[in-house]
Structures are given as structure tokens and as C-alpha cells.
């Protein structure tokens, strides 16, 4: 902000203008207007991000009784919530969350990349129409879309009746399986992969691909050595935008999963409901948050932050 102050010339000329008497077009100094522009965002982030996050951290050091699921006191910080949250009993669920999120992210890349590439390169005049088609599912609530998958995947559902009609048999168990949860996550987060990828691919100079062919690269080699490095920022953004919400999701396994598809998010959610243990739920949230932040940090270091 100090640089903007230096960039601006003095504004004294405006004050001397005869019309200034009524309209007073006097400009604020640069540093002040910069800060003022930031003010709404800062207030927003302070009240809706910083304070809630601090509350979660505070709750994770609280106790609980039957009467109130959270009892926080500065004089009695309870660190053992973290010990409970780190109980190896929760590890299988933690790994399951990572596994679901990783498989969904890979599926999103494999599905999203060709779609984004095709729209950006060959979409022509209808590009915006295709993009709107990608966004349209967002116009419906995530919950409703997951309920729709229930109807498609259930025993008497659409998928089974189609399979039955083409002679592959009815009555397959799709719902309440790992497959259903990963499918739901992939479907739900696919647009988050397509949109940043599209933005990157659209900005890529198409002559790079031609140059690559001219210089003797094959198709695969062009893809891996020219296209992917060029669109890496979009790819990295897409992977983060899919993986991070997917790893903490609890709605999809709740609606499409069965008895053995609980994710970390469900365990946290249960602590705020039937588990009646907000401190433990908060400690788990903090640990997940720290783990994801550390993971993102390492990932960006490795993949190269200059790519973003």
C-alpha cells in the first residue's frame, strides 16, 4: 500500500477547480482509498473466517457436560481432546477420506481435462454455451443432486433397469458402496476442475502445439512436454479445488455411502450431533485443517509455486 502512495501525483489541481464548490471531487490519498477498498473484504473475512476459526480452536480446548456439549474456560484448557483425536482408531477413516478424495481428484483430471481442452480449442462460437452447461448443475442444490444419484443407483433405479434391458442383469448393488461415494464426489466437484483448466488452456498459444509437432514431438510427447507444463497453473488450481473440499466432505458418504464408507467429515459431524462432543469434533477439525495446509504447502513447493 505504501507504493501506491508514491505512485500518485499530488491532487492539488482538483481543489482549485471552480466547480469543486458544489461537487467536491476531492480524491482521497492513495493509501487510504486502498485500505477503504479492502475494508469490506477484511470485515467479511474477520467475522466469517478468522473468528469462526479461532472459535473452533478455542472449542478444541474446551470440555463438555450433558447439559452443554461445549464448556470453554481459559483457566481449564483441555489438551487431551487432541490426544483422543489422534487415537489410531480414527486412522482407517482418515486414510479412507484421503483415498476417496485422491481417486475422485484423479477421476476429475481424467474427465475434466479432455472436456476443458475440447471446449477451449474446438468450442468455437458455442464455447460459452458449453461452459454454461458445465455450470448448470450448480443451479441445483448439492443435496438434491446427491438424492438424484440415490434414485439412479438404487436397486430398482435407473442404472439397474438400463443394465437389465441390455441383458447385464438387474439387482446390482451400487448404492451404499465405495463406488457410489467416489462417483458422487467426482460428479459434484468436476466443474471445479473444468473451469480453472479451461481458463489456462484458453490462454495457451495454439501455435505451441504446432511448433511441437514441427519439431518432431509425437502426440503423447506434445501433451506431456508442451501442453501440460503450459496449463500447469490451471491443473494445480483444479486439483486443490477438488481435493480439499472432497477430503472434508460428509454429505456424499452420508447420502450415497453405507455402513463402511464413513469419511473424516462424518466423524467430525457426528461429534457435533449424536457424539455430543464438540471439543473432540473441533480438535479433529483443527488437525484436518493443519494436515491439509501442510499438504498444500509441500505440494506447492514440489510442483512449483512459480507455476501459479
Amino acid at each position: 500500500m505504501s507504493t501506491t502512495q508514491a505512485d500518485r501525483p499530488p491532487e492539488s489541481a482538483v481543489d482549485d477547480s471552480p466547480v469543486a464548490v458544489t461537487t467536491t471531487r476531492r480524491r482521497l490519498p492513495g493509501w487510504l482509498s486502498g485500505n477503504l477498498l479492502l475494508l469490506p473484504t477484511s470485515v467479511w473475512f474477520f467475522f466469517l473466517l478468522v473468528i469462526p476459526t479461532l472459535l473452533v480452536v478455542a472449542y478444541s480446548l474446551g470440555g463438555r457436560t450433558v447439559a452443554s456439549p461445549i464448556k470453554f474456560s481459559w483457566g481449564n484448557l483441555i489438551w487431551s481432546n487432541y490426544k483422543t483425536a489422534l487415537n489410531p482408531r480414527f486412522l482407517p477413516i482418515f486414510w479412507r477420506s484421503i483415498w476417496y478424495a485422491a481417486v475422485s481428484t484423479i477421476a476429475c483430471v481424467l474427465l475434466g481435462f479432455p472436456i476443458a481442452y475440447w471446449i477451449a480449442r474446438f468450442g468455437g462460437r458455442l464455447r460459452n454455451v458449453y461452459l454454461v452447461l458445465v455450470i448448470i448443475p450448480f443451479l441445483t442444490s448439492y443435496l438434491i443432486r446427491m438424492y438424484a444419484w440415490q434414485f439412479i443407483l438404487q436397486r430398482d433405479g435407473l442404472l439397474n433397469s438400463v443394465l437389465g434391458t441390455i441383458g447385464l442383469g438387474r439387482g446390482h448393488e451400487f448404492l451404499n458402496t465405495d463406488f457410489a461415494v467416489i462417483l458422487g464426489l467426482t460428479y459434484g466437484f468436476l466443474p471445479f476442475m473444468i473451469l480453472p483448466l479451461y481458463a489456462s488452456i484458453e490462454r495457451m498459444d495454439p501455435s505451441l502445439v504446432e511448433a511441437s509437432y514441427d519439431l518432431g514431438h509425437g502426440k503423447a510427447s506434445t501433451l506431456f512436454r508442451v501442453i501440460i507444463p503450459t496449463v500447469a497453473p490451471g491443473l494445480i488450481a483444479g486439483i486443490l479445488l477438488v481435493f480439499i473440499p472432497a477430503v472434508g466432505d460428509f454429505v456424499t458418504p452420508e447420502l450415497l455411502g453405507g455402513v463402511n464408507t464413513q469419511m473424516f467429515g462424518n466423524t467430525v459431524y457426528d461429534q457435533f450431533n449424536s457424539g455430543n462432543n464438540w471439543p473432540l469434533g473441533s480438535a479433529m477439525s483443527v488437525l484436518l485443517m493443519v494436515f491439509i495446509l501442510a499438504g498444500v504447502f509441500v505440494y506447492l513447493r514440489r510442483v512449483g509455486e512459480e507455476a501459479l
Partner: protein
């Protein structure tokens, strides 16, 4: 608006709508409770200046209400499809009190709404376990029983029930049991007790409730222990039972109605009323009260803390306890009535249905869920172990 026949639109919609389950929207409403949590965060942020932040723990008010004259209105918040068409109009006619009638479809939704602040409702109808939670969180206030002389009409069983001894906080509305719903055409008639979950026909096609106390009660009944046990050894045995059972079921869920109706689930631990509702659409679905015993559930009228018309609320409760009013209610909704004096006006087919009015020997094995105080935490911690096993 002074016309006593005139009631709020929701009421008209309610009695003419096709019967769908009270708990169908449980899951959706769970998100409402998440929103309630967010609101709770907000409110504690405001008071966060002090050294200690305690949520929802304020002292209770005395048993008699202020002598101030109340406006002739009553705001009543009840489950959907859970009242007779003439219950409210007759009350308005006889008392001149205008009733506003609103509906909810899950205990979670009700609890979230109440804990997020003053709602303006004078009567709510939580299920026993939720009533206990509300008592602990000081969300409901004691009744003035001198205003409810008809309390004598209650079946003695409901006068001193474990969830609310002496009707200090609540007057029961209707009751039922937590047993097993199953598809008779696919499972056969062999379902009599909780061990039916072991039947090969239902392997991977059954569910039990996503409620700690209900699930543990099932295990404790099956193990012939006290369903309200607070003994660590009993609870550990029940936990092991549930973890083993988990390998044989498809889901742990309270949203079993549609899957059971559609054949996705062949058997489910279920609330009696829900199964009777499903039967209306799918006659193959049957309900049994397990022979080793089951919990009774009771939906009870209670007055939220801060209600503006507690005396009108008591007057309404007293009205519901009149024999003919209670009988008309039961004849309409087909649940068991806690009103003993009403039984001579209740339809014979309801009184003769052993699933609604169980014979004395079965009734003896249908205890209420007890308010076990701090021991509730023993259940919730073990429940987390079951769910994450």
C-alpha cells in the same frame, strides 16, 4: 381473525395432505441443525468478552406462571400429520383462544430451532429423548399442574415415566414403540426378536437407527441387560455387539422409510408409527415388537422457556386430556393414546391391535428411555467407537 373456525393455513394443508413420514426429512433437517450451530457460534462471539463462555445453561424458573392476563392466542408447533381435524377448531370454539399451528418433521429441527433463540411457540411436542436433552439445556419450563386437573386421566404408566417423573415438564401426546420393520414377502415370518438381524435373508440388507440410545437399547435388550444401563461392563458388551452387528447390516440410518418401502432395505430398526405409515403404501411391510423387549417412545407437549402464553398452553394440555378429545386424536392418527379415560371412545380396531395397544405381558417389556444424566456421555463416546469401528 376472531372466527374460531379459522386457523392457520398450515393446519389445513396438514390434515388433507397424503400421509408421509414424520422423519422423512430428518437428514435435510440435520443441516438446519448445522445452521443452528453456526448461529450458536455467532451468539457466543458476541458474548466472548468474558473469561468464560458457557452455552445454554441458565437456571430454571419456578412452577407457577405470573398472574398477568395472557392474550387469547396460542402458538402450537407440532409434527406434521399428527392431529385430528377438529382438535384445534373445537378448542378455539370452547375457549376463544386463537391457535396458530405450525409443523416440523424432526426432533433435530425442533431442537436446533429452540436452541437458536426465542421462537414464539407456546407448545412443542418433542420425543422423550429430545425432551430430556431440552431439560438439560434449560430450553423448556416446568408446567403448572394446578392448571391441568385432567392429568388424572393419564394412564398411570405416563404419570411417573422415567423420562419425566411426575409430569413436571410434559404431558404426553401419543406413544409407540421402537421395534423392527421388515418386508414379510422376502424375509418370511421368522422375525420375532432382535436376533432377526442374524437371518441370512437380510445379510447386508438391514439397518439400525443412527441414535446412540436406541441402538444401544437394541443391543442391551438382545443381551438381556437393562436397556437404560449405565454399567460400563454392560455398555462395553453392547458396544461389541453393535460393532459385530455392523458387519451384517447395510446402513446405520434414521432415514430408513423410503429404502424399506422400496425394497432397498429388507429390515430396519424402526419407530412403530413410521412403519404403519409405510404400510399404507406397501402392505408387505410388517412391524414387530421384539419379544425380549423394546423402548417405548412418547411424544410429549412441553412449554419452551420464554413462551408468552404458558397458561393458555396448560389450558390446551388440559383440553387434550379430556377423554373425547384424546380419543378423537388417536382415532385420527392411529397411535397409542396415553389417556386412559379416553379408551372407551377409541375405535375398537385400534384398541385390539396388539402393536398399538400391546397386552400386559408385552407392555411390561416396553420401558421408557430414562434420563440418565451424565452417563449419557458414556453412550455417546461408545457410539463414536461403534460408528468409527
Amino acid at each position: 381473525m376472531s372466527d374460531p373456525d379459522r386457523v392457520n393455513l398450515a393446519f389445513i394443508w396438514d390434515t388433507t395432505s397424503p400421509h408421509f413420514s414424520r422423519r422423512t426429512f430428518m437428514r435435510t433437517m440435520a443441516f438446519a441443525s448445522a445452521a443452528g450451530f453456526a448461529a450458536a457460534c455467532g451468539s457466543s462471539a458476541k458474548t466472548g468478552g468474558g473469561a468464560t463462555t458457557t452455552l445454554g445453561n441458565t437456571p430454571t424458573t419456578p412452577h407457577t406462571f405470573s398472574s398477568a392476563v395472557e392474550a387469547k392466542t396460542l402458538n402450537f408447533y407440532n409434527w406434521t400429520d399428527y392431529i385430528a381435524s377438529d382438535t384445534i377448531p373445537n378448542f378455539q370454539k370452547t375457549t376463544g383462544i386463537k391457535v396458530t399451528y405450525d409443523n416440523y418433521s424432526s426432533n433435530d429441527a425442533l431442537f436446533a430451532k429452540l436452541s437458536s433463540g426465542s421462537t414464539g411457540y407456546d407448545i412443542i411436542v418433542p420425543t422423550d429423548a429430545t425432551l430430556v436433552k431440552m431439560k438439560h439445556a434449560s430450553l423448556v419450563q416446568p408446567l403448572d399442574l394446578s392448571l391441568i386437573p385432567n392429568v388424572k386421566n393419564l394412564d398411570p404408566r405416563f404419570r411417573d415415566a422415567a423420562y419425566d417423573p411426575g409430569n413436571q415438564y410434559s404431558i404426553p401426546w401419543q406413544w409407540g414403540t421402537t421395534g423392527i420393520g421388515f418386508d414379510k414377502s422376502k424375509v418370511g415370518g421368522a422375525v420375532t426378536d432382535w436376533d432377526a438381524f442374524e437371518l441370512p435373508a437380510v445379510k447386508g440388507k438391514s439397518s439400525f437407527l443412527d441414535e446412540a440410545r436406541d441402538a444401544f437399547a437394541m443391543a442391551l435388550f438382545a443381551l438381556k441387560k437393562d436397556p437404560n444401563s449405565t454399567n460400563d461392563a454392560d455398555l462395553d458388551a453392547a458396544k461389541d455387539y453393535l460393532i459385530a452387528l455392523k458387519k451384517k447390516v447395510k446402513q446405520i440410518t434414521s432415514d430408513y422409510q423410503d429404502p424399506l418401502k422400496g425394497g432397498e432395505l429388507l429390515m430396519a430398526q424402526a419407530y412403530s408409527g413410521d412403519v404403519f405409515t409405510i404400510q399404507a403404501d406397501n402392505a408387505k411391510i410388517e412391524y414387530v415388537i421384539p419379544t425380549s423387549g423394546a423402548f417405548s417412545w412418547v411424544d410429549s407437549m412441553a412449554i419452551p422457556k420464554g413462551a408468552k402464553h404458558p397458561k393458555n398452553a396448560c389450558e390446551f394440555m388440559n383440553y387434550i386430556l379430556e377423554p373425547k378429545v384424546g380419543a378423537a386424536l388417536t382415532n385420527f392418527v392411529n397411535y397409542g393414546s396415553p389417556n386412559k379415560a379416553a379408551e372407551k371412545y377409541i375405535n375398537k380396531d385400534i384398541l385390539d391391535n396388539p402393536l398399538i395397544y400391546p397386552p400386559a405381558d408385552v407392555l411390561a417389556k416396553l420401558p421408557f428411555q430414562k434420563d440418565i444424566g451424565d452417563a449419557e456421555l458414556k453412550y455417546s463416546d461408545r457410539w463414536t467407537e461403534v460408528k468409527t469401528a
